[in-house]
Symmetry: C2
Subunit: 357 residues, 2 copies
């Protein structure tokens, strides 16, 4: 078990060793550990070694000049200058929130970025300013569209954060696939089968082999199969891809750069780096903030009270499970798996440090 | 088989008999029949009798004063004045497109409206102005959130239309449930079972009974069950509900008014009428239009060429099936089922007309 402070100090030091200025090292550490706090372990410090390897391969610029390359009063295209997505994302959220201050809403598509961590963190930045936040990103191709054998899309998550008053905020944050890759990896370690509808094998047949992805298979879009509307998950993943990468001029679809440094970049890229899309809408661009938030309180409490199928499991509001994790982990600390600790020790050794410091 | 002209003339006459001004009768007929043309038969002239019954019950105002009640340069809240959603929707799309002309994007949430027909029609209006269009609406509660027995959400569709250059546009238009209610009704008529994952019974157990909904059951969110991530479909349906109804002050969640006139309105409404949400983003608010559209051409042709599982079924682009229907039905006419023809004859008799005229 590790305290927030331990992980924070370590991550900041590592990002500084990579050459990041202190403010940006702090920003990146905050995004990364927010995933661990919220129980999204696949996107937290477990990924630190991945970022370090990309940096060693020259794919991450620790001192990027992140700038707007095109804009209107409500929109921007941002060039991430190959910076850490963990820094490019919160900086772009500031841009869209400032635009929302001026004209009601702000929207930005980002090119030339890298993996941006947990989508929900960026959307939630808007809550402090009484805004609705949105965040999405494209990612390494692992997902086969309906009827396809080939991997064409990433798990392309969507996050939407909406403030309430007395109730906690509504925070949806989900991959547009049936299951995230991290869940398959857990089953592989346990040598258990995957549920049907998560994955297909290299021939495009549905599979319960949790290693099917490693064997050349693909993750399935939300909906799982044609009968249960996998084309809708394919639509959603495509919308995320187009908003993130075609709007900005990043690499889209099967051209999206891989997160892992051992896979080569596409020899004929169609754009620059990875793409993201962010939005902020001022609550009072639609209704007086107190009216809006009072209605959100009603919405949330009514859905919480929806009659459950079983008395043992109440209906949840998007964001509830992550809030529960955060409450516990802030108090008790953050558990890390042995392979993750080993990776962090390897990162530490790389820079002549110890983990924990 | 009926020609477009036959259905158009009939619908326009009916809307005029209801008291709609000629321009609005034409607008409503166009939206309605666009669904029949595109093969979305459940949302076309089959629904005309439903609108007439709502009007007879005093729930539709044929001469609404549709107006902006709150706005910023990029946003508006529109009061539909209990008008036909078929008219309120295209009028609001004009508002968001004009805002996009001015500041890059435009967004509107609508209250006090009624069923707005096929979501995709409204999103596609943006294509003619080189904009990305978005359209969503809440609807009568038929859907149980994950872990719930109770119907809390509508089928709450999302439509996104994105222009290309030489390729046809990308048009996603889908309910946020696994299956639409219309598909269950078809199985009921054929006395066939429903696939698993579409519906649950009144106790909240998954069911293959195509009549389960009529017996007090509920439609399931996209994803079908917890293991296959129905909570993501529940998130999507909730986002549509909140953007459409909490942003505007319409009735949200289980308070959404029913489409069918024989069901009473909620005795304690939390807002006014049904809600919608629309968006328009100018393509050149992000990139020069020709660059953007050339990349969309690449996106579309690359996905079309994705390696298929079977040589008999190529990978489709969102909008392909509907375009195929439209091509055929424009040439050959629109087939109507006998019960629909009977309904239209009943509507005709109501106003001393004939169907077809």
């Amino acid at each position: 078990m590790f305290s927030y402070k331990q992980l924070q100090d370590f991550c900041i030091s590592v990002f500084q060793e990579m050459g990041c200025p202190i403010e940006e090292a702090e920003m990146a550490a905050k995004v990364l550990i927010s995933a661990d706090l919220r129980g999204v372990d696949s996107h937290g410090v477990a990924r630190l070694i991945g970022y370090v390897r990309l940096w060693k391969n020259g794919r991450i610029n620790p001192t990027p000049n992140i700038k707007i390359v095109h804009e209107t009063p409500s929109t921007a295209v941002v060039d991430g200058d190959a910076g850490l997505g963990l820094v490019v994302a919160p900086k772009t959220m500031e841009i869209v929130m400032d635009k929302a201050d001026n004209v009601g809403t702000g929207w930005a598509s980002v090119k030339n970025s890298n993996h941006y961590g947990i989508a929900g963190h960026h959307a939630m930045m808007a809550l402090e300013r009484d805004m609705i936040g949105m965040s999405m990103t494209n990612a390494s191709p692992l997902v086969a569209p309906t009827f396809a054998k080939e991997r064409m899309l990433g798990t392309n998550p969507i996050a939407v954060a909406i403030p309430a008053n007395e109730q906690p905020p509504f925070v949806a944050d989900f991959a547009t696939t049936t299951a995230a890759n991290g869940k398959l990896e857990i089953l592989q370690r346990k040598q258990e089968e995957a549920p049907t509808g998560w994955v297909q094998d290299a021939d495009g047949n549905q599979s319960v082999d949790a290693s099917a992805l490693k064997g050349g298979g693909a993750l399935l879009p939300l909906g799982s199969d044609r009968v249960r509307s996998s084309h809708k998950g394919y639509c959603l993943g495509s919308i995320v891809d187009i908003f993130s990468a075609v709007f900005s001029g990043a690499n889209f679809g099967p051209w999206a750069p891989p997160f892992v440094s051992f896979l080569p970049l596409h020899p004929n890229p169609v754009g620059e780096g990875l793409g993201h899309f962010f939005g902020a809408m001022r609550v009072d661009a639609f209704r007086p903030a107190d009216e809006f938030k009072a209605d959100m309180d009603t919405w949330i409490s009514r859905f919480r009270e929806a009659e459950p199928v079983s008395p043992d499991q109440k209906v949840l509001i998007p964001g509830d499970p992550e809030r529960e994790f955060e409450k516990i982990r802030k108090l008790e600390g953050i558990p890390l798996l042995d392979p993750v600790i080993k990776d962090l020790e390897e990162v530490a050794a790389e820079f002549g440090m110890k983990f924990p410091l």
